[in-house]
Symmetry: C2
DNA sequence: GGTATTAATTATCTTTTGTTAATGCGTAGC
DNA sequence: GCTACGCATTAACAAAAGATAATTAATACC
């Protein structure tokens, strides 16, 4: 594989999840296309059916809800991560979440229909979807549990420790909604801590 | 299949997820055993590695965290539902959650090692694990999103509408921690509403 | 059935968060 | 460079939730 290939990063990530033969890898990369999008670009709007998932080669993006006209961040993703409205992508139902880039992004776009075809022709790729779903579940569970276990202040402290990258690359009003609080409240917490 | 079989309910649930031939069904039921346990029985303790998942033929159970000596309910399950510390079950790592019965339970116990064997001998069962993980993710996402989108009072109202069974079968102090609040606060919300 | 325990409610007070508005800061665009 | 806009902070007040304790209700057990 060419070192300059846009699939280099993807290969590093996927091969940890599911070792593929060279032939399998070729058919796997075939379900992706390349796309560059600017900052503040909406890859998916609420209500649309998600037919794509994205692997981020470069940049940052977020999942967000819209409630009463307000944007509420559900998750942030950076280089070497997948981002998708997984519920909509899996069920092919209208999405409750939107996807918006936070920085200019270089993406590998995974087509749902092509993934389905590939899985049909080679059921081994069920393991890929399975691993994705399992990983997504475990990550989400850690996040969800913090809402019943921790106070907003503790959640912020944990974020500082576990995901400092978010703090560096994401504006604070987005972080506030991600933590389930208002920007004003987050500002107070930051003051209390410092 | 015998109508009185303990696998009757399981069959109804699984066949919706993954249609199986009679032969496949036989090998599938082979990975389960039957177990009856009383109320307040711990099927899994925090720190243990989960080697079992449970399908509830009868009864009710909960997943719970323990923080500072206090029990905090993460989820409730009833008849025809699966319950497991999925993170521990999947990763075979020490569980952050415990599983406790809320009522006397009749269970079908799924052995992790037998499931792995089965999946190895027939990769088609990857689809089963995949469907479970995907379902678990979608359900968890709906729950998790309510923590950033809704107030405790709205969460309680949603629960009333979407899962009234919980209110009927689960003590209120468990529901309170499930909603991320104290029993005192839940009592106040109930008063406000009525 | 009566007693002991546990659970739920109510009351009081403290702490935290939400709301609204004002101020200060930085950046983008002209 | 200036202006305008969005973002973060601060302030003041209202609303909600936490903590503790007392009371009432429900239940579990002998």
């Amino acid at each position: 594989m060419n070192v300059a290939s846009p699939f280099q990063q993807l290969h590093a990530v996927v091969s940890k999840m599911l070792p593929l033969t060279e032939k399998e890898w070729d058919s796997f990369t075939g379900i992706f296309t390349y796309r560059s999008v600017p900052k503040k670009f909406f890859l998916l709007q609420v209500g649309q059916v998600s037919r794509e998932a994205y692997f981020i080669n470069k940049g940052a993006a977020r999942l967000l809800f819209v409630k009463d006209g307000e944007e509420i961040s559900a998750n942030f993703m950076f280089e070497n991560g997948f981002i998708a409205s997984l519920e909509s992508f899996l069920l092919q139902a209208p999405s409750r979440q939107a996807i918006e880039t936070i920085e200019d992004c270089d993406l590998l776009v995974l087509s749902k229909s092509k993934l389905d075809e590939l899985t049909k022709s080679n059921p081994r790729f069920n393991s890929f979807s399975r691993a994705i779903a399992e990983m997504a579940f475990v990550m989400l569970q850690r996040r969800a549990s913090s809402f019943i276990l921790d106070s907003p202040e503790e959640r912020y402290q944990n974020m500082l420790k576990e995901k400092p990258e978010i703090l560096e690359r994401v504006p604070q009003h987005m972080i506030a909604s991600y933590l389930g609080i208002t920007p004003v409240s987050l500002s107070r917490i930051r003051k209390r801590i410092s």
